[in-house]
């Protein structure tokens, strides 16, 4: 908060955690005084606004975020230590009078204006579709549109939950996630530790540059490269045949598809994954290693007692992100290889939604499946974060 020295260190200003902003639950409590909507016309005008605490009380009665605002101010008000430069009058208990809203808007309107295009884009392309999920409760037909389509309540959801194909997709998704968690997740950690142990910095940065590269290739490109190497006419089979051995079927074999998927993901993204771990490794104080070595800890003991604990919070953070994302696996990868291995092995939740909705035109049904996925994902990430807090890690968003 030291950076907020623009004279706005009101009680309503965000705390550092809220400033990092990753706590949806805190949306109600954060900065009630800052919202335009929290300043209803009923609130006394600027003149009486200087009455401080009393006004806070009035506002509390009149606006939904009220109770939260009260606690927010009391909690954060006294801790404000930032310099007051252009800040308008502050009342004794640190409560910011509402009159400031207008002044602050005047002062910050170019900042607000700058943020506006992004907000508008999100409003149209992120929030409007959220509302569009109402089709999940309808029997939607593109010919009559959303307003005129009949409402069917939860029928689509009951249909989805009774659908064996849906559960098959769920099962595939979870199996792939679990498999990749075991066989993909540790690879960047190991690679980062290996690279970090290289003494020559130049060699290290060259190797880093090489392993990051495939991250920037598209999935089409990655699958194409795999096709050229492991496909029926690919390099591997070409040399097998040249030596008189039978060709192996890798690209179109549903039984080994899980391995194929994972190796593609590793090829593309394992290198990229090491960035965060390398940063965490370089943040470990070398004195710790030195002290451990002086105390007689060998290479492996140092790795176990110094390196891994140093990586712990990053590992937890990435695990949380992965768990929250566990219903999302390689959508483009699946679409690209569906023709080759068939829907049985490659159907995941996202492809299920896509094929039932966009391809087969069962819009409402697919939207219901998609909505279930979105809500479960949201619940997953919130739960995973809670678990992280229980284990004393900061998680995605901090308290």
């Amino acid at each position: 908060m030291a950076r907020t020295g623009t004279g706005t260190e009101s009680g309503a200003a965000a705390t550092p955690a809220q400033e990092a902003g990753l706590r949806p639950a805190a949306a109600g409590t954060a900065a009630a005084g800052e919202r335009p909507t929290a300043a209803p016309p009923a609130v006394p005008g600027p003149g009486s606004g200087r009455a401080g605490g009393a006004v806070a009380g009035t506002a509390a009665a009149g606006s939904p975020g009220a109770g939260a605002k009260g606690t927010g101010t009391n909690k954060t008000g006294p801790t404000k230590t930032g310099p007051t430069k252009t800040g308008p009058a502050k009342t004794g208990d640190g409560t910011r009078p509402r009159a400031n809203l207008r002044l602050r808007f005047k002062r910050d309107r170019s900042l607000v204006l700058m943020a506006l295009p992004a907000v508008l884009l999100l409003a149209v392309f992120a929030y409007l579709p959220m509302l569009g999920n109402v089709v999940a409760f309808q029997d939607y037909s593109p010919y009559v549109g959303i307003p005129d389509s009949p409402w069917v309540g939860l029928e689509n959801f009951t249909r989805v939950l009774a659908d064996a194909d849906f559960w098959h997709a769920v099962r595939n998704t979870l199996v792939i996630t679990a498999f990749q968690l075991v066989f993909f997740f540790p690879i960047p950690i190991a690679l980062a530790m290996l690279l970090n142990s290289l003494v020559n910095p130049r060699l290290r940065s060259v190797i880093q540059a090489v392993v990051y590269l495939p991250h920037f290739f598209s999935w089409v490109l990655v699958v194409s490269v795999f096709q050229q190497i492991f496909g029926g006419a690919g390099l591997l089979n070409q040399s097998l045949r040249a030596n008189g051995w039978p060709a192996v079927d890798i690209m179109t074999n549903p039984d080994t598809f899980l391995f194929l998927l994972t190796s593609q993901a590793v090829w593309k993204d394992a290198g990229w994954g090491i960035i965060v771990f390398l940063a965490a490794l370089s943040a470990i104080d070398p004195a710790q290693y030195e002290a451990a070595a002086v105390d007689g800890a060998g290479r492996w003991k140092r790795m176990w007692h110094v390196t891994l604990p140093g990586l712990r919070s990053v590992i937890v953070l990435l695990l949380i992100l992965r768990l929250g994302d566990s219903l999302t696996v390689g959508f483009e990868q699946m679409i690209l290889q569906r023709d080759a291995v068939g829907a049985g092995a490659s159907e995941v939740l996202d492809t299920f939604v896509y094929y039932t909705g966009v391809q087969n035109g069962d819009w409402s049904y697919a939207a219901a499946a998609g909505l279930i996925k979105g809500l479960v994902s949201l619940a997953l990430i919130l739960t995973a974060n809670k678990i992280a807090h229980i284990f004393g890690e900061s998680g995605v968003y901090s308290k």
């Binding site: 959220m130 190797i207 290739f217 960035i275």
Partner: protein, 317 residues
Amino acid sequence: MSILTSKTPVSARPGKPARPPRIKPERPVWDEEPGAGAKIGKVVVLAVVVLAVLGPLYTIVLTSISSQGTITRAGGLVLVPGEISFAAYQQILSGGVVTRAVLVSVGITATGTALSMLVSILCAYGLSRPGSFAHTPILFTLLITMFFSAGIIPAYLLVSGLGMINTYWALILPGCISVFNIIILRGFFMGIDRGILDSARIDGASEWRTLTQIVLPMSKAVTAVIALFYGVGYWNAFFNAILYINDSSMNPLQVVLRSYVLQGVSVPGQVDVGSGAAAGPALQMAVIVLAMVPILIVYPFVQKHFTKGVMIGAVKG
């Protein structure tokens, strides 16, 4: 003591610039030299990793520039350089589906990246001052979209409702901004010394002027990295195109790549192999290489910034 002094002269070597402290050119004294087995193991693993990335790229590029005879002799992909021929590139770039797809992809990438950068930089700067008017509500508006996304179906219904099916806007606008990128930029902008910005304001500079003349010149590295992220995103976009574009003449390169390499559609011109045209594999490889080239060109310039921890702050929140 003698061991210490014998180990340290590297940093004192003349002509060698002082390195940042975390990069140690020499093994620290307390660290025992690894055994021969460990060293060999390390080298082997790293060599395999590097080969796994570069090997396939090598053979694909080589095949794309090999003559038909060389490809036939190799039986497919070429590992040993033979006769070089650029016939494949001449063929696919002299008009036709691939040429048009390249132009479409270049156009979308250029327009999209410019638009994305404009909107993202403005938004990141607008949000770089916690406590400013409506700062927190706007920030939450952005962040919520990282936790809950509407899904494919409503997105498709929206784009089709807006009449954007079969327009290039459908490939640009829905994914125009990435909240993640904005947060990275914002984090960087917030790290800029307040004193500089305050003195600009005291001198009468507006926010716009502060942004364009002070903040942006100070943020070249992070802007380059974010531009690369956006550019790569547009260049690689594939699903958007199959979702929103039905007109095959508007397909971007990734979709064309899929139909030629993964779906086995013949590359145009492949039929008249006998008349001195490039061989099928060379054509396929050439399309793959085309999809790769822009990334290979831009990558070296931007790559060095990755390690500077540009995105680390954002990842850690």
